[in-house]
Amino acid sequence: MSQPIITMNKVNKWYGEFHVLRDIELAVSKGERIVVCGPSGSGKSTLIRCINRLEEHQAGSIKVDGIELTDDVKNIEQIRREVGMVFQHFNLFPHLTVLENCCLGPIWVRKMPRAEAEEIAMKYLKRVRIPEQANKYPGQLSGGQQQRVAIARSLCMNPKIMLFDEPTSALDPEMVKEVLDVMIGLAEDSGMTMLCVTHEMGFARSVAHRVIFMDRGQIIEQNDPETFFHSPQNERTKLFLSQILAH
């Protein structure tokens, strides 16, 4: 694959005294799709939130799309423009309609005329298969629909990288598939760089180029999905896999 679009170099982070990320080394190539898994509290969310500076790292360096993440607000905003994020709890703006949610970024950040922004929003709402909900408010939609809107909202910014933080774990079981289907579709026909924290192993198998296992703030093991699932090396990985595959 081509040159890395994200490079993390000896990244360390603490919450107070608590060492949450330890010597993280990670290089993500353009177009690569990575699934991050690991036990709860292992620092998965913190790791991907450092990439768009929702969390600040205290040591090491993170470079995204050629820009080093520092305190410089201009740099941060520039990176955030290129990095989309989908949250566990959707975080749609409840006072705006679905269409307005999607147009907000293009209009105010990309300075696009409203008509053009709406056209793009409709394009992506079609892509996540809910164009007919465009004028509803988020609260009127099901969880699965809300998450698909959240995906569309990120896509409208035409990002180079998409981050997903457990996008299906707050959903009722019958809605997980509709969201995963959208994400698989996105992976297959956009070639976008994706980092996804998830425990959906079927999803990992079908779209990921690489699976990363984290435990206690460290990257313990990483491999292509086939090797990762069939012949895990580390004891903790084995334990974790046996636990999540058991139920």
Partner: protein, 368 residues
């Protein structure tokens, strides 16, 4: 559902009669035990006494026609509405030019109309705020004059128009100031935060009366001698500064209630601080804080009566001064009754609107 499943369903029945209707309700709520029954009877007796007493004084025993002597005969037993009939123009408008008092009446009408419009859900939104600002401009023109109207100096402003102006202008200007203070108090910049905290806590720690005194007496001491600032304006500034601190705290409560995820989603889109606040956070926070802001406003409306102490002719003051005429002097109490009634009508209406807003916003939350 299939017909077979329907057949199994127990048809809905009406609840037993004793549980419904006025009788059922009364039995359940008022007479459900001997203690409850006693409380109900005592409460009913007290309510009867109070209401009967109030009605006797203000209606049945009140003097509606006659001479001051008729009032004198009924002193202490019934209200002297005769005095009000004679002096109502002064109570309502104070020393405002007599032939120009229709302007004051228009001001009152304008404020009442705006309060009425504000209660209608269809009008809620940015336009309502513009409407209030426009109304305020018209009010100032009507009060002061110019542009074809005779100029009436602010020293002659008084009565209900002055009270309403001080209160409504107070809240309207305090609103943006309150937003800035609330944002400042939550700022990550220590200097800005400290400044806002100091301001808010200082103002909240002193009574309005002292703020008014400072605005009226001390403020001019700091200014060069040849510059004088209008007394009404000084009181108005005092009220705005005072109300802003409380508005800021109400808005801060709203800001705290906006989930962290909303800030993060806005950040993740690359919206900067101001866009994040104005497009995402404030619209949600203000909605949450509207009921407390309205409640603050009710206090502000009543607190304006304190401007009496810096010798402005607000409604309470005019109600008092109106009874300085020798023949009405004994009936000054009825002036306070009238002023109290007027305050009550305004505060009660606004309180109803506040309850309505609260209810609608709650429902809105459930639907969304």
């Amino acid at each position: 559902m299939t017909a077979a499943a329907d057949a199994d369903l127990i048809p809905a029945r009406r609840p037993p009669a004793s549980e419904t209707g006025a009788l059922g309700w009364a039995r359940h709520n008022l007479f459900s035990g001997w203690l409850n029954t006693i409380i109900t009877i005592v409460a009913a007796f007290v309510a009867y006494k109070v209401i009967w007493g109030a009605l006797s004084y203000t209606v049945f025993n009140a003097v509606w026609t006659g001479t001051p002597q008729t009032c004198q005969d009924m002193l202490g037993k019934g209200a002297c509405w005769l005095a009000i009939q004679d002096r109502y123009r002064f109570i309502l408008f104070g020393p405002f030019d007599y032939d120009q008092q229709w302007r004051g009446a228009l001001v009152i009408f304008l404020f009442v109309a705006m309060v009425g419009l504000s209660a209608i859900r269809r009008f809620w939104g940015k336009k309502l705020i513009y409407g209030w600002v426009a109304a305020l401009a018209v009010v100032l023109w009507l009060m002061y004059g110019g542009l074809g109207l005779k100029v009436v100096e602010t020293s002659k402003w008084g009565g209900l128009p002055l009270t309403l102006l001080l209160a409504f202008a107070g809240i309207i200007f305090a609103f943006p100031l309150g937003i800035v203070l609330a944002l400042g108090r939550r700022s990550h910049m220590p200097a800005i935060k400290a400044l806002c905290v100091a301001y808010i806590e200082l103002i909240r720690g002193v009574p309005l009366i002292s703020v008014l005194f400072m605005a009226s007496v001390m403020f001019p001491l700091f200014l060069p001698e040849n510059i004088t600032i209008d007394k009404v304006l000084r009181a108005q500034v005092g009220i705005i500064l005072f109300t802003a601190a409380y508005t800021a705290e109400a808005i801060r409560g709203g800001l705290q209630a906006v989930p962290k995820g909303q800030y993060e989603a806005a950040d993740a889109l690359g919206l900067g601080y101001w866009r994040k606040m104005s497009l995402i956070v404030l619209p949600q926070a203000l909605k949450i804080s509207i009921p407390s802001i309205v409640n603050n406003f009710i206090s502000t409306l009543k607190d304006t009566s304190l401007v009496t102490i810096i010798a402005l002719y607000d409604l309470l003051n005019t109600s008092k001064i109106a009874f300085n005429e020798p023949q009405w002097r004994s009936f000054f109490f009825d002036g306070f009754v009238v002023a109290g009634l007027i305050f009550f009508v305004f505060c009660f209406s606004i309180s109803r609107i506040s309850i309505k807003i609260e209810r609608v916003l709650d429902v809105g939350h459930k639907r969304r």
